[in-house]
């Protein structure tokens, strides 16, 4: 199955990249652009067949490696099966 993981900065954590993107969009003439936040999107192919255990595994992957839980939140969707 395939996991689609979104990693986003927690509220209140400064996002220099998002800020720079917002400015750049403004400079390109896009108006009405408010806050921009940049995160990561990770797709992981899992050979699991059991959904519950795959979810557990994902949870651990996010906690241990994929997200920096001091400043980031994560969420995921599982697809297939």
């Amino acid at each position: 199955m395939k996991a689609r993981i979104k990693i986003t900065l927690k509220n209140g954590v400064l996002d220099p990249q998002g800020k720079a993107i917002a400015n750049a969009l403004g400079a390109l003439g896009f108006d009405g652009v408010g806050d921009v936040r940049q995160g990561k999107y990770i797709e992981v192919e899992l050979h699991d067949t059991d959904r519950a255990s795959a979810e557990q595994k994902l949870e651990r992957m996010c906690e241990q490696l994929l997200a920096n839980t001091v400043i980031e939140n994560y969420s995921y969707e599982l697809e297939g099966i």
């Binding site: 209140g12 954590v13 400064l14 220099p16 920096n68 001091v70 400043i71």
Partner: protein
């Protein structure tokens, strides 16, 4: 105010009494927060001040000693070097990348706020034992964070130190140092002299970063939890780069009265310091402060530690000129207040006065403690013959060179842009780093040094040694040592034995700084580095800066020429107490650390500098951790030319001569050994021929030579291998 709230703000009952008597009433929550940060150990130096005052801080070269954002020394021709070192220990343990990154950003602001362009960064790093489960992650994050910030800003990171020791398992140390260059007639200070002047905020917007966890109790913060108040600050090096350029552009106009970065305790400490030094009051209107988040309270704005912000007091009427510069660099600019003759800090938000406090009392009446202290019993000196000999000198050499303590730090500094700005004359990997003073033929040398295991065994000797080693590393490049900055990292000062370490180290530093005329011009104190009662080893990191008057005459460590003589200058005693030989090979830490003879240190260093300047030597390296054979091997590896050690026929055991860590010694390579020996003897400096350069091995009499390539792979191998294994 409940006692809980007071104690959560880190104020003792007596300190709170003092607050009441200063204000003549109960403080508001914002005022309590302001007192709390101003009187914190970090801002007030309440445990350390009495001792710091004993350090020598003056000299003909010193333009500005401690007390400003950074120290300033004259380097001639109307230019000066501005530098400081600072800790970011705790944040780096919580979030290594951002903690280290913001440490680099903060120290650079201390330097450019005084009018300098940062030209060199250094970093002194202490991690826990390699086999501690957190170490690898911390090393990787801290190094990436330092690089991520410095590389982006475009200031070369040219030197530093890395240690691994179980004593740092629960408290790593990340000390960042920055050296800048300025014109002596364009130095900027923080005293806001004058009334009715605009107070201007520039840089990034203010968010809820770094607001102390202790202050969560008050009702206004009760809506949704932690999520809103990360204590971790995120660095924005791109904004820092713009801020440097904008500030330097503003400084080139004559419109700044005073300028100060917003470091720890942000708006609070910057405004109190500027007002206090200028003898004025500040009226601040927080509604003018650029905010990143909605609904920020006065308390949050005053205590926020958002990065990349500065506070500037301008000449009246110059706001538009200044605004234009910051707009060009796409940075926030806001007039947030005015200087007054009231002597009070008055903070208004939404039409309410949130704080109204006397500046002088806030700044000056911070408590000052002479905490009880005890010095450890100085350990007994262990004689060389009482330390077990190894089976083989070369085998021991191989082990040492490939150990975490002595292996190459290339894995670290290759992640740092150490060449940007086009003036790096001596890259990392030698003794001090050297950057050219841009557009001239002069050089600035810089180094970071301390040997915590010596400090732990004997704080006074350790303090002396740290200063002497920094002086030595500068000297080994041919520089005149100018001055030092320090970063005093210790445990809980309320424990007499920790306070004793502090007092002892300061005493040793004082003696060495005086004897070597190497004054302390800036520094930083980081206390309470302990977890569950386990304190870090005492770590007074010393940052040294020196001047090379003519870069045509400087040295490096690499052996370049075959058939030269290797000479050792300085006295040999074969001191093995607290040596790496004892630590790594015998797995114990015993005895007194090697003593530093400051008079001999001075004499030997002065001769080495002369030899470099008159072209008598082709390579120079001081002997430090690991001793003589290690130092020779480092020289051989750096230049790709081997060395054959001669027979030692002195009174000491051979292993003590090979691995002893006697202080005040240098190895030089030269084809003029007779002349050098004569000059050393004339000055009463011990000198001995220790070997000859050449070949592609390191050899010692009676043992199989070790190929350089074998040593190189051991030396270069450990760190990358460690970082990629799990």
């Amino acid at each position: 105010m409940t006692p809980e709230l007071v104690s959560e703000h880190g104020l003792s009952a007596e300190e709170y009494e003092q607050v009441l008597s200063i204000l003549g009433r109960e403080p508001s929550i914002t005022e309590l927060g302001i007192f709390s940060v101003m009187w914190s150990e970090h801002c007030s130096y309440k445990s350390s001040k009495v001792w710091l005052k004993t350090l020598p801080t003056t000299g003909p070269q010193v333009i500005c000693g401690p007390g400003e954002n950074a120290g300033i020394v004259d380097i001639g021709d109307g230019q000066c070097a501005i530098f400081k070192m600072e800790s970011h220990n705790h944040p780096s343990f919580i979030e290594p990348y951002q903690g280290a990154a913001t440490g680099v950003g903060g120290i650079m602001r201390d330097v450019f706020t005084m009018g300098a362009r940062p030209v060199a960064n250094l970093n002194a790093l202490r991690f826990g034992a390699p086999d501690h489960p957190k170490t690898r992650h911390l090393v990787s994050g801290v190094v990436a964070g330092i690089g991520g910030y410095g590389n982006c800003v475009g200031v070369p990171t040219v030197g530093g130190e890395v240690n691994f020791d179980p004593g740092y398992n629960g408290n790593i140390l990340v000390n960042a140092m920055c050296v800048g260059l300025a014109d002596t007639d364009r130095i900027f200070y923080s005293a806001a002299r004058g009334v009715g002047l605009p107070v201007v905020y520039v840089g990034s917007k203010t968010g809820r970063d770094g607001i102390h966890g202790a202050t969560m109790a008050s009702a206004e913060f009760d809506d949704d939890s932690d999520e809103k108040r990360p204590t971790v600050q995120v660095g924005d090096p791109f904004t820092e780069k713009l801020l440097i350029e904008a500030c330097l552009e503003l400084m080139a106009r004559d419109i700044i009265i005073a300028i100060q970065d917003m470091g720890a305790a942000g708006l609070t400490s910057s405004s109190v310091e500027m007002a206090d030094k200028g003898g004025v009051g500040f009226d601040l209107d927080l509604n003018k402060v650029p905010c990143r988040e909605e609904g920020m309270s006065a308390y949050e704005m005053m205590l926020s530690e958002s990065q990349e912000r500065m506070l500037i007091v301008l000449k009246p009427g110059s706001e538009d000129k200044a605004r234009a510069i910051f707009q060009k660099w796409e940075l926030d600019f806001a007039v947030v207040g005015v200087t007054t003759d009231t002597g009070r800090l008055i903070v208004t938000h939404n039409g309410h006065i949130e704080a109204d406090m006397p500046v002088k009392a806030l700044a000056d009446s911070a408590p000052e403690y002479k905490r009880p202290w005890t010095l450890p019993e100085p350990p007994a000196v262990i004689l060389p013959r009482d330390v077990a000999a190894p089976d083989s000198l070369t085998g021991t050499l191989e082990t040492l060179m490939g150990s975490p303590h002595l292996c190459s730090r290339r894995w670290v500094w290759e992640q740092y842009d150490h060449m940007v700005m086009g003036d790096t004359l001596r890259r990392p990997g030698g003794d001090a780093a050297v950057v050219r003073v841009h557009g001239t033929t002069k050089g600035l040398a810089a180094t970071c040094d301390v040997t915590p295991r010596y400090c732990a065994a004997d704080p006074v000797e350790g303090g002396r040694q740290a200063v002497a080693e920094a002086w030595r590393n500068l000297t080994a490049t041919g520089a005149d040592p100018l001055a030092i900055t320090d970063c005093m990292n210790f445990g809980n000062p309320e424990r007499p034995e920790i306070m004793g370490q502090f007092v002892g180290c300061i005493e040793g530093m004082r003696e060495a700084a005086e004897a070597l005329q190497f004054p302390v011009v800036s520094g930083n104190v980081s206390l309470y580095n302990e977890t569950k009662g386990a304190a870090i080893p005492p770590t007074p990191a010393i940052g040294g800066v020196g001047l090379i008057p003519d870069i045509a005459h400087m040295a490096d460590i690499s052996l370049k020429i075959e058939g030269e003589t290797l000479l050792l200058l300085g006295a040999e005693r074969g001191h093995l107490g607290q040596s790496l030989y004892m630590d790594v090979i015998l797995e114990k830490r015993e005895g007194a650390p090697p003593p530093v003879d400051l008079a001999a240190e001075r004499k030997t260093g002065d001769l080495v500098r002369e030899l470099i300047r008159d072209g008598s030597v082709s390579a120079v390296h001081d002997v430090s951790d690991g001793g003589l054979l290690v130092a020779v091997s480092e020289m051989a590896l750096a230049g790709g030319v081997g060395a054959a050690m001669g027979e030692y026929d002195g009174p000491q055991p051979v292993h003590a001569m090979a691995f002893g860590e006697d202080q005040g010694r240098y190895i030089v390579a030269s084809s003029r050994s007779g002349e050098i020996i004569a000059r050393a003897k004339a000055s009463g400096i011990p000198v001995r021929i220790i070997g000859e350069t050449g070949g592609d091995t390191i050899s010692v009499p009676g043992e199989e030579p070790v190929p350089l390539e074998k040593l190189r792979s051991l030396h270069e191998g450990w760190l990358p291998h460690y970082m990629t294994s799990r």
